[in-house]
Amino acid sequence: MISIKVQTAPFNVGIETQLAHQNNLSAGALVCFSGFVRDFNDGRNVRSLHLEHFPGMTEKSLQKIAEEACARWPLLKVNIIHRVGTLNLGEPIVFVATLSAHRDAAFHACAFIMDYLKTRAPFWKKEQSAQGSVWVESKDSDQYAAKKWQESRTQKENFE
């Protein structure tokens, strides 16, 4: 069961965490990742963030990433929420919940989705700081993290 939301409206990570488990008695493990706008990035004092995206393609690419996670690990639920537009300091940007019978599948799938989302979903961050407004540079470490999963396509078997 996959749910993808790309929205300008703020959301609450606590409420989303509760919703991700609710009523699923077969679920032994829930892993939730929340990413937030933080005060410092590469030495810049961040005031807010603007998230641009590619409407249409964004939803499709997140759906595809979630489906690939479901093909690799036995998941009961994948929920992804990503905000776009202007975000204030401390607000959640992204939320990924993976629900499974066992913890290893939930942990791996959640990390996998974040690594792929960071390198394959069409979002771009622009930071507003005291030094003005700048497009955030991509990080080599993100590319590296995503590549690791391509080398371990057979991982699903480990968790079944």
Partner: protein
Amino acid sequence: MLKVLFFARYRETLGTEQLDLPYHPDLTHLEEVRKTLAKQGGKWQVLNDTGLMCARNQELVELHTPIQDGDELAFFPTVTGG
């Protein structure tokens, strides 16, 4: 006709988010479209960016991906979401 979209820094540099490019059989792959645009020089050289990514019909692809008349293409900087 090909529809070409630009996002983020490229959109800002080019001052446009979309253009229509007449289809020509020489435009076999995304790379030919990129080259055609970039060789106009000036601001268009932003498409020589090493971090350039591209999409065909809203799917992430490589520059060597073949294209067809009617495709919606997109060029954008390396993504930075999440």
